[in-house]
Symmetry: C2
Subunit: 253 residues, 2 copies
């Protein structure tokens, strides 16, 4: 029997990225997809406790089932893993993506694609997020195909330690220099607020801006790998305790 | 001059928790508050790139300015820090809360209160999240007052290393056993989907469930501290690289 892979994303079930992923992985796995019914970029690991979640079966074929859901990416994973899996089967892997846009460095904190794999990892499954540094709806995912298959098969074969997942980002180029195992680059977003005025006079704004890397010289980061043409694989933990700070604080309280 | 503290939350600017925090800290600091215009529990570190953000000045007094904003908690911080600070002043501290409900263990990943301090830390400020293990709108925050002042003053005096913040949770009791510096307990939510049927027949569901601790015996976790009457202070990092996994993966790719 083929492995079973659970897939979600934050661009919605109709996005090109998730459908390229589906087409690429169908030959090697059975797929169950539960994805947002519209774009949810920037959803992070948010959940929707205050509103009902609705879902619809939108596609059912041999080895492929696709649901759309009104919730966030993380809601989709919770709903899917608890209620929509095939009888008597658990996924061998949870995948988020392929995202249209870069989820490296601090973008991982805002990313709904990472929300998918955070939840997958919390529920005890190996989990991998795939993102391409190209936000365009018609981004070309073709160069990713062999890497998607290779990383997927390795993730299933190796498994992952509890509470960890992989954040995989692809640079925007036709051919990649190879794969680098990276740490998350420290960065922050700047000049993020574009003010406008409503026709009746009240101010409003759009979130815009750009990411400023705090350590552009460091060669072991995802940021560096992507800007040098490498596929960046960043192992990620859900335990965000700042262990180095614990002893300092012990003395202060 | 008093220190300047920037405050936001995820329960909205009218919630009892944030207003108790404001009343408690006014004697020791100037406060600028930019908080959601309604409840945004579970918002995580989400942002709203696809919709305009609107904001309104709702209160202005000596040493206190309060704005409401249509965005997520993280949006509020981005907007506030870039556009709504008093002239020529930067905050000495960013605070999220006081949240109505527990943000310890994996709840931190879903928490909009943590979204506030994640953004504050990313922007380079010391940042502290306060949460009380009581979701009721009329929760009694009185026992927290001396701890809020003490932790706030210490956080300002000590500062924090780049990319870190504190996640402070208070158990639901009248008197606390003291403060414990903790790590985040590993846990996951279970039995989370309650199915219902729409009057016209389509299924929908509510997110419910409870958190199941994976390591209830461990005495160094926030979960343990809270269940034994202690205030849990969990130092938190924004660098969620799984460093221990890097070497393992180097060999695999």
């Amino acid at each position: 029997m083929k492995p079973l892979i659970f897939i979600s994303n934050d661009d919605g079930y109709q996005a090109a990225g998730i459908n390229f992923l589906i087409d690429t992985l169908r030959p090697i796995a059975d797929l169950i997809v539960v994805a947002p019914d519209c774009g949810r970029s920037g959803a992070s690991t948010s959940i929707t406790p205050a509103l009902p979640l609705r879902y619809h079966l939108v596609r059912q074929e041999e080895g492929l089932t696709v649901y759309s859901c009104t919730g966030s990416p993380t809601d989709c994973v919770k709903l899917g893993l608890e209620c929509l899996l095939p009888a008597d089967r658990k996924p061998d892997l949870v995948i988020g993506g392929i995202n249209h846009g870069d989820n490296s460095s601090v973008n991982a904190h805002y990313s709904g694609t990472m929300g998918v794999v955070h939840e997958g990892a919390m529920q005890g499954y190996p989990a991998v997020a795939f993102s391409l540094c190209d936000m365009r709806p018609d981004a070309d995912f073709t160069p990713l195909a062999p890497y998607l298959i290779d990383i997927t098969l390795k993730a299933i074969a190796m498994g992952m330690p509890a509470f960890t997942c992989l954040n995989v980002n692809f640079p925007l180029c036709k051919r990649f220099e190879g794969v680098r195992i990276c740490r998350m680059a420290k960065a922050r977003w700047v000049e993020e607020v574009a003010k406008r005025e409503h026709p009746y006079g009240a101010p409003y704004c759009w979130l815009v801006g750009y990411r400023e890397c705090c350590e552009p010289e460091a060669e072991d980061t995802d940021d560096w790998a992507l800007s040098h043409g490498y596929v960046a694989v960043t192992p990620t933990t859900l335990d965000n305790t700042a262990y180095a700070l614990m002893e300092v604080l012990q003395g202060a309280f």
